[in-house]
Symmetry: C2
Subunit: 395 residues, 2 copies
């Protein structure tokens, strides 16, 4: 197979898209598939779609495709809700497995919502749990015998710094703690082997490197040996053993399906299911090699041509996900100027310009063209245009 596979994506003319780490582009076949679900399934089948179009099984079916991309076995992943909800579920189940421990370790490189959800859960539990947020490099030293769970995002959303999943999981297990990985910036970006990692839980979103569309449903993985005993805090009817029996008492479904909650978002899930077709026949190792080649070329060119930018990502590609970040004091305005010229990355306060590298639809020519624009914006200080200084609500 040859990368990139640009023909599978709808890529607007005149745009070089380096923001697939935030929202992946539209795979071409999704529009027709979604239209079919709206008109032929919802429209024509009406309520019968639950059986005839197999809506009820879709979260398990899509979960199996995700499992294939994160080194997890069939039946160990299910879909639904948002990443925030899945973090809450994983942490609640983890803490129920360690009733005598009261400490949760996370790091300041975690995505904020993971920390917010954890805080909310700990307050709801009301049993004196403590969320200890340490610097990413201090995680290892923070894991002791009092720790119930370690909850980390593998790849830092700002800098792309990548944790060593196997080493940290082993450390957590040595201390008797449960390990939860957030794979938001990993799934579809770097090779992940959940089975080899031996971690108990993983969660992730699907609208970044998996191109599932804005607000695509999240995933949750539960290690198979725990899936029949993990205790769901969010006991929804679609996680019931027999949702359509309408029993008054809750009995969790066997396996990871107990982590489903309410009615699945069928239209949104269909967009994701179709979007995942672009991974057919793709080897994650090949994607990773191609991404590293693109990133190395980008770094070399930027450092040669844009001396005002300072690399914020780890220089060693093995310690980095699939994005490269540079610091620049006028990064916000510079990013606006770039976007106005068709090179789309994004900005994270206070001074980080982020660029995502996604070999499914990006080639070396794109990288070189992007650097040309970046060098022009910086060399000629085009970011000084007042129009680029105005902050929009969402960056």
């Amino acid at each position: 197979m040859t990368l990139p596979r640009k023909e599978l994506f709808h890529l607007p003319e005149g745009v070089i898209y380096l923001d697939g780490n935030s929202l992946g582009p539209l795979p071409r076949s999704v529009a027709a598939r979604v239209a079919g679900t709206v008109t032929d399934e919802w429209g024509d089948m009406l309520i019968r779609g639950w059986n005839d179009a197999e809506w009820a099984d879709q979260p398990a079916r899509v979960g199996n495709r995700i499992a294939g991309l994160i080194g997890a076995p069939e039946g160990s992943v299910t879909m639904g809700d948002t990443l925030s909800i899945k973090v809450y579920q994983a942490l609640a189940a983890a803490l129920a497995m360690r009733p005598d421990r009261r400490v949760v370790i996370s790091d300041s490189g975690n995505f904020p919502t993971d920390l917010y959800m954890a805080e909310g859960l700990l307050r709801t539990l009301g049993r004196g749990h403590e969320l200890r947020v340490v610097a990413p490099e201090e995680v290892d030293g923070a894991i002791g015998e009092e720790v119930a769970a370690v909850m980390l995002t593998e790849v830092d959303y700002r800098t792309g710094r990548r944790h060593d999943m196997s080493a940290i999981t082993a450390k957590a297990h040595d201390a008797g703690a449960v390990m939860i990985w957030d794979l938001a910036h990993s799934a579809g970006a770097v090779p992940v082997d959940m089975t080899a990692s031996n971690a108990e839980f993983a969660v992730g979103c699907t609208y970044k490197y998996l191109n599932g569309g804005p607000g695509a449903p999240a995933f949750i993985y539960v290690r198979p040996d725990l899936a029949d005993s993990a205790e769901p805090a969010l006991q929804g009817w679609f996680g019931h053993e027999a949702p359509f029996a309408f029993d008054i008492d809750y009995r969790p479904a066997p396996g990871v399906e107990r982590m489903r909650v309410g009615t699945p978002p069928v239209i949104q899930m269909t967009a994701l299911e179709e979007a995942l077709m672009v991974w057919d026949g793709v080897d994650m190792d090949e994607v990773r090699s191609a991404a590293i080649a693109l990133m190395e070329r980008f770094i070399t060119e930027v450092e040669a041509r844009c001396p005002s930018l300072e690399l914020a990502s780890p220089r060693d590609p093995a310690k980095r996900g699939s994005q490269v970040s540079f610091r620049f004091s006028e990064g916000y305005a510079a990013m606006q100027a770039l976007i106005a010229r068709g090179v789309i990355g994004d900005f994270r306060a206070p001074d980080i310009m982020r660029f995502g590298f996604t070999p499914l639809y990006l080639g070396e020519d794109d990288v070189l063209a992007a650097v040309d624009v970046l060098a022009d914006v910086l060399g000629n200080e085009l970011w000084r245009d007042p129009a680029y200084q105005k902050r929009s609500r969402v960056t």
Copy 2:
């Protein structure tokens, strides 16, 4: 305005749809709107859609449309997740408002997921809360000074029996309890006046009478005087005061927006937003009168022509939502036979045949034609066909 407005809906030829209480049909304009969101917004705007297509504000915008249908003021309703999640949020916030009380009252006519989610929350709280599930007619007597919250679904999903919202809310308040209403079978079905009811919280789904499509997002209402102090248990980044500041500490957004959790499902939300256009200029009192006329005609005809069916719904239309249920021991097979002949209702164990009445797209001619088929199925025992006895996974 004249009802029905069939021209606004995609109604498959040969089908009389009496299951809008389970999944509403497709409003015609939704397909084009969804296609536009997929191709013109996600496809062409990519990440810029959050600003340029105003995705970030959509839950508030859609919430305002729902508010208009449930007698709630602007800014008091927001959208997202599923009804199960919204039940959890409302109950958690309610219990935080009554820290010294330990009893939650619900009834056996509540939809099971509401009870499951409540149980899960109470176990997570671990503070000895008790969920007391009483018979619907015993709710009033069960509300005492020890009750923290009363959590009910206004209209029973099986029989259509309707609680007296104002009276029960007043009773709850007299006892010092917080009131939570589930409007899943009320919004778009019966006139609701949240402001007049004075209840603290309401939640609901949007894929039934609001025709939002399979898995459409849920809504939550918080009484305006409480919205700035209600404590979110599910502290997601989209409920943060400044989601895109990526602060490490959670600060709830002002008002009901704090009840947002993760990234909103933009495609699914767009389908709902467009679906709500069919309510433009519609008077809920007119809808209600038309629904009652259809239901009365249906009951009269069925009782005259199908003596083996026994009315399971309240005979007094004022005590009933917008559905009529009949008991029949062979109800499952009879419903399958009906569906095979294009009359779509549904079945709830052990013996309930449900029929929803939705005057936006149903007229008296539909009701009479449906009864003709029902009388044929029952009079000629067409349900005896073995094909109709086989249970499908989802009814």
